[in-house]
């Protein structure tokens, strides 16, 4: 048992998975000697060599494209895209090939690879270094889209993603990398992809969040408990796609109200799919419209205005209060 931040926990997952499976290899920009710009791949190259921890040339499309080839051959590449804002330079490889090879080849091939990307705001960074763009991947059949919310679940989900036979997009919230340390057991753990967790039980309203927004949701729930006496149930999605509709619906059947929080812009975002799924499964239990607390539908605003754009605790509290009062 050791107290680890998310960077160390992810690093440990990579060490453990590389130790357990010689087919696992790591590639990306600066992942070797430098250990990644956020140090998630620190010391891997020293341990496993430059053939297995590859400092690739600077080209996102070829990082993903060559990893697809490696995966088709039977290896299990873990790619790092330095910031999710740069992934549009490899989006065609992800959408056209990672997601489709199992189908295109009718099961002759599959693509067991993981694409790690730091995402989201909170680190006072320039354009393309702060966006939250999970909705693009969540929409693509054939992919899985995972976003952990803390060190322990990050390690367990990355292990699960590496062992998954299908391609997994793995988003890491930059604002969580060094945010908190958590007790993580020494031995490797796995959390099943596709399962949400109830982070806090309650019966007044279901508050749904993931990644960096989980902390915001939990703080809002504290305030609502202390100031309003409302027991808000908080759900940590962990996997955005495939969405754990069962857990969401079961919770809303109990609470009758739901608010979704995400850092991505609102329109056509995960909140819309979550709301539609709740309507499908728990329509007759609903006492109020489902509210979404999200970034606004504007392009990157610059970090001087980021706090006004990304959901914060007061916005969540106010949306919950309005929903409770409806």
């Amino acid at each position: 048992m050791a107290k680890l931040n998310m960077v160390k926990a992810l690093n440990q997952a990579l060490f453990q998975e590389m130790e357990r499976d010689a087919d696992v290899l790591v590639l990306g920009e600066d992942v070797g000697v430098d250990g990644g710009v956020f140090r998630v791949t620190d010391d891997l190259q020293r341990t496993y060599g430059s053939q297995r921890v590859i400092d690739s040339p600077l080209a996102e499309a070829a990082i993903i494209g060559t990893a697809v080839g490696m995966a088709l051959y039977g290896l299990k590449p873990v790619c790092e895209i330095q910031f999710s804002g740069f992934a549009f330079q490899c989006f065609h490889q992800i959408e056209n090939h990672c997601a489709r090879y199992r189908m295109r080849s009718q099961g002759r091939f599959h693509v067991p690879m993981v694409i790690r990307m730091p995402y989201g705001g909170g680190v006072r960074a320039l354009e393309h270094h702060s966006e939250s763009e999970e909705q693009f991947y969540a929409h693509i059949p054939g992919l899985k889209m995972v976003i952990p919310s803390g060190p322990r679940n990050a390690r367990a989900l990355l292990a699960a993603a590496i062992r998954d036979p299908d391609p997994v997009i793995f988003f890491e919230a930059k604002s969580l990398y060094h945010a908190a340390k958590e007790e993580v057991p020494d031995e490797s753990e796995v959390i099943a992809i596709g399962r949400a967790q109830v982070a806090r039980e309650g019966d007044a309203l279901t508050l749904i969040a993931y990644g960096a927004m989980l902390r915001v949701a939990l703080e809002a729930a504290d305030i609502l408990r202390d100031e309003d006496g409302a027991a808000v149930e908080v759900i940590d999605l962990l996997t955005v796609s495939p969405l754990d509709r069962e857990t969401l619906v079961a919770s809303v059947k109990k609470t009758g109200r739901a608010v979704v929080v995400h850092e991505a812009p609102r329109s056509f975002g995960p909140g819309a799919e979550i709301a539609a799924s709740i309507m499908d499964g728990a329509f007759l239990s609903l006492e109020a419209p489902i509210r979404r607390v999200t970034a606004y539908d504007v392009p990157f605003v610059g970090f001087a205005r980021e706090k006004a754009n990304v959901p914060d605790v007061p916005r969540v509290v106010s949306a919950v209060r309005e929903t409770l009062a409806f």
Partner: protein, 384 residues
């Protein structure tokens, strides 16, 4: 401080062994056994006859849109001939002749071009990727396969196909660059057929050759007469041997010509002259190779008929394929279907009729329809 010329010692060779007038360079002529020469010709002929048959099938509405290979048989067969079954082939979408050589059953290719993904499924022991349509995006896959083979210590060479248009795509340059840096066993085979749909080579690149693009990435590049099967074979064999020996990748530019349409949905009279096509018809790869074999007394009696019979037999098998069961669309989306997708599948399975009609089946095979109820192409036939 001075400003001096670096004089990098780069050169691009051009290789031609048997020209369109039948002149043969005996010093360069590859030492191929008679059986190999016959086999090369047979594959080229099969490629040509199949191509012509497929265009007719498409015009009759019996298969969908496809990209004909006519004119590029030497570039394809001459190169693929140098691979072992344990090597990997990475096609784009115009490699019918090469794919047949690699063991793809003709009926499977026909199935693919009638919209059935089953036709694109490589056999379990076949080291071929399926057809890739987005231009140049398969090239990084070839580099990744080669890296993986090298990582595992396997004796494998990867051959990747693409056209002249692909060399304008970023993925081409990224793949060449990664292949050079990683020094992996890949042979890039560019079929420069002069036209990327309506855009001619001179609007595609300002380079004198495509082969020279290799030099910027530290790889050898060679231009060959792509309608000369002996030259294509000789250049590719050299590149494959180099890759197998651990001496890295090569770019081969096969200068050829697309004698037919880009795809069956294309009308080339809009953008190129009949005169140009007629000029390239004089350089037909089959004509000169046939003359070469004739001189050596290697032409087989009745070969055309045997090839046509083989194709006809395959068309019969293709048209006897049972209709596509829609529910199969869920089988290969994921290793294990997520619960919600499983529910979508179950809902479809519960609502589907037992024997749906296949819209692209031959006229004899389609169920009779009521007068006035003729469906649009691609629409499911319904009986009221």
């Amino acid at each position: 401080m001075p400003r001096i010329a670096l004089e990098p010692r780069f050169q691009v060779e051009y290789l031609s062994i048997l020209d369109s007038d039948g002149n043969l360079d005996t010093a360069l002529e590859p030492k191929l056994a008679d059986t190999d020469l016959r086999s090369l010709y047979r594959s080229m002929l099969l490629g040509r006859r199949l191509d012509e048959r497929m265009v007719r099938l498409q015009r009759q509405g019996r298969i969908g849109t496809f990209a004909p290979t006519k004119g590029q048989e030497a570039a394809q067969v001459g190169s693929i001939y140098t691979l072992r079954p344990t090597d990997w082939m990475v096609p784009s979408f115009r490699e019918t002749a090469a794919m047949v050589w690699r063991g793809w059953p003709i009926e499977k290719l026909l199935l693919f071009f009638s919209g059935h993904l089953e036709g694109g499924q490589p056999a379990p022991d076949q080291h071929d990727l399926p057809i890739t349509i987005p231009v140049a995006t398969q090239l990084p896959h070839a580099v990744g396969l080669a890296y993986a083979a090298q990582y595992r210590g396997d004796d494998v060479v990867v051959m990747a196909y693409f056209g002249d248009g692909a060399t304008s795509e970023g993925d081409f340059h990224e793949a060449m660059n990664f292949a050079g840096v990683w020094h992996v066993p890949v042979v890039f085979v560019c079929q420069n057929n002069q036209w990327a749909i309506s855009v001619p080579l001179k609007k595609q690149t300002h380079s004198r050759t495509i082969a020279q693009k290799a030099l910027a990435y530290g790889l050898p590049g060679i231009q060959v007469d792509g309608n000369d099967v002996l030259a294509v074979y000789a250049a590719t064999r050299e590149a494959v041997e180099r890759a197998r020996a651990g001496d890295g990748p090569t770019l081969i530019e096969c200068v050829t010509y697309r004698l037919g349409v880009h795809t069956t949905a294309d009308d080339p009279t809009k953008y190129r002259s009949d005169l140009e096509v007629a000029m390239w018809e004089q350089k037909d790869p089959l004509t000169r190779f046939r003359a070469y074999l004739e001189k050596r007394n290697l032409l087989e009696e009745g070969l055309e008929q045997r090839v046509d019979d083989e194709i006809a037999e395959a068309v019969r098998r293709f048209e006897a394929t049972p209709p596509a069961d829609p529910v199969v669309m869920f089988d290969h989306a994921y290793a294990e279907l997520p619960p919600d997708v499983q529910a979508q599948r179950d809902a479809m399975a519960a609502s589907e009729p037992a024997t749906p009609a296949r819209p692209d089946a031959s006229p004899e095979a389609t169920p009779p329809t009521q007068p006035g109820a003729t469906p649009m192409r691609g629409q499911r036939l319904t009986r009221r």
